[in-house]
């Protein structure tokens, strides 16, 4: 038996693979079912966002930001608008901020629905995915009603939003939340999260201790899954998030070591409920406010004076940072650099993937919740 040659096999997973969540290619060195090393190859969806941003004017960048994290477009344009507003010294009215909060949190629910749903599908449970997609559809209906688009909204403009909320939005939104909180959410927890097989598959897989998470700059649910309560909405409030009451969900290591795939997924699940809480409060606040012109602060000509700014916000996938440089001469940004949460999440992948089974690789990618549009930009 000693002279039996054991060879490692290279397995290319992706870019066309049902569960690499887009066009991600992972080069796996496998020994049977065990993965000895995993190297992610990114860049299949590179669309030169940052170069494009230098050749269009400031408001023209907003549609490009939508196309980065196409699962959560609202969060992207929000971050960019906040950055340029800070650069120009614009403060939007509380009415606009409240609308932005509602939209951002609805988008968070929609994005986490996709994430948790496809995660269930990666593990093999198909049904929760369709239940969640059904409810995401209703959020998209609300978005379509408001701004006419279902995926790429171009909604958060510099200094305002593109459309005011339509009449009856508050009522429709409450109806959706009621259904989501009472029916879909408990059903999801019963069907997927509490499922014994699901727990067994995820509870001790892809464990990312908190020091590793910090050293690889994980943010958002991935970091909170490792047990660190860091949330920009609470720590560095923007858009008046300090007015809303919500919990920052962290992984607790219920069924295994802290920071496992289960914890990351659990954080997302819990965050959906927290977002619903925030939306309820924001809708209450909105009802008490007087309608205002959402274009009031939108500048006719966006031409910031020389300067640079770095603004970060809590997108559904983590801290999304925009570094915008203005040279004060043209109407185009001199430079727009994005710090993408998915890119940093992907960087820890090869560390966590070492020594896993092939099936766990799928579980790991799903739990990091990467969107390739944002990694490659």
């Amino acid at each position: 038996m000693e002279d039996l040659e054991v060879d490692e096999m290279i397995l290319n997973m992706g870019p066309q693979h049902p569960s690499t969540h887009g066009v991600l290619r992972i080069e796996l060195r496998t020994d049977g079912e065990v993965v000895r090393a995993a190297r992610p190859h990114i860049g299949y969806l590179h669309r030169c966002f940052e170069k494009h941003a230098e050749s269009v004017d400031y408001p023209g960048v907003v549609p490009y930001t939508d196309r980065m994290d196409y699962v959560a477009s609202m969060g992207n344009s929000l971050g960019y608008s906040l950055a340029v507003e800070k650069l120009m010294g614009i403060t939007v009215s509380p009415y606009v901020s409240t609308i932005r909060v509602i939209m951002a949190e609805l988008q968070r629910i929609a994005s986490h629905s996709i994430s948790v749903g496809t995660y269930g599908m990666d593990i093999g449970a198909f049904t929760p995915f369709l239940h969640l997609l059904r409810d995401r559809e209703k959020i998209l209906d609300l978005f379509e009603w408001t701004c006419g688009a279902r995926l790429l909204y171009n909604y958060n403009w510099i200094g305002g939003v593109s459309h005011d909320l339509p009449d009856g939005f508050v009522k429709a939104c409450r109806a959706f939340l009621r259904e989501f909180e009472r029916l879909t959410y408990p059903e999801l927890v019963e069907l997927l999260i509490k499922n014994k097989i699901f727990i067994k598959r995820t509870c001790s897989v892809g464990v990312c201790p908190v020091d590793l998470a910090i050293s690889y700059d994980l943010t958002g649910p991935n970091l909170r899954g490792s047990g660190l309560a860091r949330d920009l909405r609470r720590d560095e409030p923007y858009l008046g998030y300090e007015k809303y009451e919500f919990d920052v969900c962290v992984g607790k290591g219920d069924y295994g070591p802290l920071g496992s795939c289960f914890d990351r997924n659990m954080v997302r699940t819990l965050e959906m409920a927290e977002s619903a809480k925030i939306i309820h409060q924001a809708l209450d606040a909105l009802e008490k406010m007087e309608k205002a012109d959402v274009h009031e602060k939108v500048p006719k000509r966006v031409k910031p004076s020389k300067g640079e700014v770095y603004v970060r916000s809590e997108a559904p996938r983590g801290q999304l940072g925009y570094y915008v440089v203005a040279d004060g001469t043209g109407i185009n940004p001199y430079r727009v650099k994005v710090k993408s949460p998915c890119f940093t999440a992907m960087s820890v992948f090869h560390v966590l993937a070492k020594g896993m089974m092939i099936a766990d690789i799928i579980a790991l990618i799903g739990s990091l919740d990467v969107v390739l549009g944002e990694i490659d930009r």
Binding site: M9, L11, H17, P18, S19, E33, G120, M121, D122, I123, G124, A125, F126, T127, L130, H131, R134, E179, L183, L191, L192, N195, I197, F198, K200, R201, M357, I358, A359, D360, I362
Partner: protein, 394 residues
Amino acid sequence: MDFTYSLLGALLGGLPPWARIAVAAAVPAVVLITFMAVGPIVYVYAERKFSAFMQDRLGPMRVGPYGLLQTIADAIKLLFKEAIFPGQADKVLFTLAPCLVVLGAFLSFVVVPFGSHLQTVDLNVGVFYVVAVSSISTVGLIMAGWASNNKYALFGAMRSAAQIVSYEIPAVMSLLTIVMIVGSLSLQDIVRAQAGGLQHWFIFRYFPLMPIVFLVFFTASLAECNRTPFDIPEAESELVAGFHTEYSGFFFAMFFMAEYTEMFIVSAVASVLFFGGWMSPFPWAWTQGIGPIGFGPFWLIFKSWSFIFVHMWLRWTLPRLRVDQLMYVAWKVLLPIALVLVVVFGALVIYVPGGFAWDQWLSWPLTALVLGSLVFFMVTAFRYRLRRAQELAA
């Protein structure tokens, strides 16, 4: 067999003996092949509708009323599709593999008793025959994985081999207990030993023990036909499509057909061994047949389809196990239980022949309880769905 012979004897009395035997062999073959080819059309439609119900959507609706013709259209499409051979594939093995898989699924039909005489051959080693023949499919799967020259297919084939080798053992062990009680390997003898209504079925014999045997067998049989939660050989989120990644057109349809036929076979074996096969659950003679018309096929197919429904139910509810967890379940959970049960049943058959005293009294209330709760949950689900539809309409 007697039935077929006497019927054919009357019709074809003038033929020489060799021709009679040829016809007698051809008739069941044609009937069973038709059953095997048409069955999956029903199962696939049912599966799509069940899953649609569970996932709050409609399922096929466009082709024919309620989409009834959808699977027929799919089957026709698959028949006319080009079969693509990968450039580096081993063409002989690549073609042979789906044939072997279908063969393995089909050969088991030979001993399935659809009625007292509606059985192609009543082999005296029936149980072992089924176990042995259904393993032929595994050879086909490995062949398919190897010949495709695709790494995912190879992974699927290896997983499938490991899985079937592991799960065959607890399945056979659990079958042994029944064989010990009956003292015969013939499926017909096993059915006849359960005659006289529901309280005589083996699932209610030695009450708390036999359901455990059944669960062991059912779990193992799920794994043998690669259904969720044991569908790792084709795990679509990991291995794309596993061993049949490279197959298209009719060859793919053959794999598909074999999978669903295998589902029917394990369900039929489960109903023969534990649920009285073609026997009616009621003690009245007319439920078993009126005059020359026997209801045996109806009862067997009804019972088997109920199990197929459970297979589908599990598939759309449960996530998938990992390879090592799958092996853990087989070797560290099912096998010890099955081994202990074989020993216990060995003793029971000698010292308490005929079952425990309470078996007779438990059978009907238990059945009522299980069916009642099933109906209750179904009605709840339907009412929930109706209410939801009304809410959406409002």
